[in-house]
Amino acid sequence: MITALLVMALGAVLLGAALGYAAVKFRVEGDPLVEKIDGILPQTQCGQCGYPGCRPYAQAIANGDADINCCPPGGEDGIRKLADLLGREFKPLSGEHGVEKPKSVAVIDENVCIGCTLCLQACPVDAIVGAAKQMHTVIAPQCTGCELCVAPCPVDCIAMVPIAESMDSWKWKYPVIEIRKAA
C-alpha cells in the first residue's frame, strides 16, 4: 500500500514538474486566431452581435464566449466561413441579433438635415462629413450600412437605401436547375 502510494506520488511529482516547465517554455502570447476571425467579419462595426464592434466579437468567438451565428451583416456566407475556420458545424443566423438585409447605404435627406452633427459622432467609420449647423452628407463608398446613424438623428432625415444593381456590381445568378416532372 505504501509502495503504491509512493510510486504514484513520485510519478505525479515528476510529471507535474515536466508540465510546469513546458508551460513556461512554450507560453503563447496573443491570439493570432482573433485576427483571422476579425478578417472574416464584415467590419460594419454595427454592434448587432451585442459586442461593441467587430473585433470584440472576434475576441469573444475566439474565447468561446460567443457563438458564430450572431452577425447579420456577414450573413450565412460569413457564418459558413467562420464554421470552416473553426471546424465547427454551420448553423443558421440566430434571429435575436437581426436578419440579413440587402446591402444598403445611409442617405441624408438634405432638405431636412439641421446640421446637428449627431450622426457624425455615431458613424464608426467617419463616412459622414459635415460641420455643426451645416448640411451633412454620406460618402457612399465608405458607408458600411451599419445603421448606427439612423437612431441618433433628431429629425429622422437618414434613410437606409439598398444599393441598386449597376453594370459593375451585376452578378451572374446561381443556375436554377429546371427539372420538368413530365420528363
Binding site: D38, L41, P42, Q43, T44, Q45, G53, C54, D77, R80, D84, D109, N111, V112, C113, I114, C116, T117, L118, Q121, P124, V125, D126, A127, A132, P141, Q142, T144, P152, P154, V155, D156, C157, E165, S166, M167, S169, W170, K171, W172, K173, Y174, P175, I177, E178, I179, R180, A183
Partner: protein
C-alpha cells in the same frame, strides 16, 4: 511549311458557315434612330462632349477618351443628338447604360478627315490616332487597341482570322472582300510594335478567305505568312491560337506581350488601316445575320443600329423564339431587341427550337470526365462544378476557376446536360463580389481603428490638459498662500486664475455635451428640430399625394 502545335481538348460542332456566305456583304440602311452606348470598350467610359439638340457630322467625336483605359466615340452618321440617356444595351444582364441617341438626317456628311502617312508618323502619334479613332478589339473583348499596340519587345504579331465559333462569318467575309485593308493594317501594327514575324491564322474551313488573304499578302509583303490552322473550336481563342501558331501557353494573369507575342483580330487590323491611312474612325462594322432567317447574310452596320431593325432585313421565320448576340457557344440571348449593335457585335443569330433545341433536364454529374477531355484550358470542370454547386468558392479557386475561358466545350460534351458554364460564371462573379466586399471591409476596419485611435488620443489630450491646468492652479494657490503678505497685489491674480480654471472646466464639460445628447439640446436647436420636422412632414405628405 510552318510547324503547328496542338492544344488540348476542343470540340467540332457543325460549323453552319455556308448559310451566310452565299450572298455578298450588303450595306444596312440607316435606321430612324441610332443608339450609341457610351461605354463600348473594356475599361473606363469616355467623357461625353455633346448634348441633346447638338448637330453632329458623320465621324465626329462625341465622347473623348478619359484617363485610364478608354477610347473615343464617334457619331455613326450626320444628324442631331436627340438625347443622352440610359437605354437598354447589349449585355446578358439587360441593364441600361448611358447612350447617345442620334437622329440621322440622311445626308451622311462627313467631318473633315485627316489621313496619316504611317511611314512618316511617330509611334506615339499613331497610337493616339488609334485611340482617337475609337479602336477596340473587334473579336468580342473590346479591349482598347492603342494599349495593345504599345507593347515592347514583341517578336511575333498574330492576326486572328480563325473565327472558330459556328454560324459567324463576318471575319470570313471581311477577309474575302477587304484583304488589302487587313494586310495594310497588319503591316502598320507590325511596324508599330517592331515585331519580326507577322502571321495570319485562319481555320482551314475557310479556303476562299485563305486564298484571298494569301493573294493580298503576296502583293503587299512576301514576308507575311498566312497560316491555315486545323478547324477545331476554340482555335480562335487568343490563347489557343497563340499556342497553335507558336507553341507558347499564356497562363491566366499574364498577357501575350509578356511572351513577346501580340494578337489582333482581322477586323481590328482592317479598322487600323482605315483609321490611319484614311482617317476614318470606327463607326461601322460587319455583322453576320443568320440562323432561322430567310436571307442569312453579312451586313455592314452602323454602330448604334437597333437590333430589331437589323433583323427585319433578313426576314426571320415565324418560329423564331429568341435572338442570340455572338455565336452559339459564347454569345448570349438578347433580353431586349431594342438594344443597339456595338463595336464588339459580330453576329446576330435568330434561334428557333429546331435549330437550338431546348436543353433536356439536367442530370447529376457522374464524373465521367468527358468535360476534362474537352477543356482547352486543361482544367477539371467536374471538380469546378462540384464545388461551385455547393458554393465552395475557395476550392473553386484552388482548382483554378479563373483560368476558365468560358468557351463552353465542357457543357457541349456533358452527357448529363449540366449547364456547367453557368456555374462557373456564377462562381466567378461571386468571388469577385466577395473580394470587393473584403476590400471594403478592410478599408472600413482601417477607418474604424483610426477613429478609435483618434478618440483615444483626444481623450488623453483632454485629460492631460485638465491635469496640467489643475496642477497650474494648485501651484498658483500654493504660491499665493506662501507669498500672502509679501505680495498683496497678487491676490487678484490668484482669483483670476481660479475663475479661469473653473470656467475652463465648465467649458470642457459643456462643449462636448452640447451635441451628444438630444435631451440636452439648446433652445435654438430645439426650435430647429421643430422646423425641420414640419418640413419633413410636409415633404412626406406631398410625396404621398404624388404616388
Amino acid at each position: 511549311m510552318r510547324r503547328l502545335f496542338g492544344f488540348w481538348g476542343g470540340i467540332k460542332p457543325d460549323s453552319h458557315k455556308n448559310e451566310s456566305t452565299r450572298l455578298p456583304v450588303a450595306k444596312a440602311p440607316l435606321p430612324s434612330l441610332l443608339t450609341v452606348p457610351l461605354r463600348q470598350n473594356a475599361g473606363a467610359s469616355p467623357r461625353i462632349m455633346v448634348k441633346a439638340g447638338d448637330p453632329v457630322l458623320k465621324g465626329q467625336m462625341i465622347a473623348a477618351p478619359e484617363d485610364g483605359l478608354s477610347v473615343a466615340l464617334h457619331a455613326p452618321t450626320s444628324g442631331h443628338v436627340r438625347a443622352i440617356e440610359a437605354r437598354a444595351i447589349a449585355h446578358p444582364s439587360g441593364l441600361a447604360g448611358i447612350c447617345a441617341i442620334i437622329e440621322p438626317d440622311g445626308a451622311e456628311r462627313w467631318v473633315e478627315l485627316e489621313p496619316l502617312d504611317a511611314a512618316r508618323t511617330s509611334p506615339e502619334q499613331l497610337r493616339r490616332r488609334l485611340r482617337e479613332a475609337g479602336l477596340v478589339g473587334m473579336g468580342g473583348a473590346a479591349f482598347p487597341s492603342y494599349v495593345k499596340a504599345g507593347g515592347t519587345a514583341i517578336d511575333t504579331l498574330i492576326i486572328n482570322g480563325a473565327e472558330c465559333e459556328p454560324w459567324i462569318t463576318c471575319d470570313d467575309m471581311l477577309m474575302r472582300t477587304r484583304g488589302e485593308d487587313i494586310v495594310g493594317g497588319a503591316i502598320m501594327l507590325r511596324e508599330l510594335l517592331g515585331a519580326r514575324k507577322l502571321l495570319i491564322g485562319i481555320e482551314d474551313n475557310k479556303p476562299e478567305a485563305i486564298a484571298a488573304m494569301r493573294a493580298a499578302a503576296t502583293r503587299a509583303d512576301p514576308g507575311l505568312e498566312v497560316v491555315a490552322v486545323p478547324t477545331r473550336y476554340p482555335a480562335g481563342g487568343e490563347k489557343q491560337l497563340i499556342r497553335v501558331l507558336t507553341g507558347l501557353e499564356i497562363p491566366y494573369g499574364k498577357l501575350p506581350s509578356h511572351f513577346g507575342v501580340q494578337c489582333f483580330n482581322v477586323g481590328t487590323a482592317a479598322a487600323v488601316h482605315r483609321a490611319v491611312s484614311r482617317g476614318k474612325p470606327l463607326i461601322s462594322r460587319l455583322v453576320t445575320l443568320t440562323g432561322n432567317v430567310a436571307e442569312p447574310r453579312n451586313y455592314e452596320v452602323a454602330i448604334g443600329m437597333p437590333v430589331n431593325e437589323l433583323i427585319a432585313l433578313a426576314h426571320p421565320q415565324a418560329d423564331t423564339d429568341r435572338y442570340l448576340m455572338g455565336g452559339p457557344m459564347m454569345g448570349f440571348a438578347l433580353p431586349d431587341l431594342a438594344v443597339p449593335v456595338v463595336k464588339a457585335t459580330n453576329c446576330i443569330i435568330a434561334a428557333s427550337p429546331t435549330l437550338f433545341p431546348a436543353p433536356t433536364p439536367e442530370m447529376p454529374c457522374i464524373r465521367c470526365g468527358a468535360c476534362a477531355q474537352a477543356c482547352p484550358a486543361e482544367l477539371a470542370p467536374y471538380e469546378l462544378y462540384w464545388f461551385a454547386r455547393s458554393q465552395n468558392l475557395g476550392k473553386c479557386q484552388e482548382y483554378h476557376l479563373f483560368d476558365c475561358i468560358e468557351c463552353g466545350c465542357c457543357a457541349f460534351v456533358c452527357p448529363s446536360r449540366i449547364r456547367l458554364v453557368d456555374y462557373y460564371r456564377y462562381a466567378k462573379s461571386s468571388i469577385r463580389a466577395r473580394e470587393k466586399d473584403k476590400l471594403a471591409a478592410d478599408h472600413a476596419r482601417e477607418r474604424y481603428e483610426f477613429r478609435l485611435a483618434r478618440e483615444e488620443r483626444e481623450k488623453q489630450d483632454k485629460a492631460a490638459k485638465l491635469a496640467a491646468k489643475a496642477a497650474e492652479t494648485k501651484a498658483k494657490l500654493a504660491r499665493a498662500s506662501a507669498g500672502d503678505e509679501s505680495a498683496p497685489a497678487s491676490e487678484s491674480d490668484d482669483k483670476k486664475a481660479l475663475i479661469e480654471a473653473a470656467m475652463a472646466k465648465a467649458r470642457e464639460q459643456t462643449t462636448p455635451a452640447l451635441n451628444t445628447d438630444v435631451h440636452r439640446m439648446t433652445a435654438e436647436q430645439q426650435a430647429q428640430v421643430t422646423v425641420a420636422e414640419a418640413r419633413h412632414a410636409a415633404a412626406t405628405a406631398t410625396a404621398a399625394k404624388d404616388t
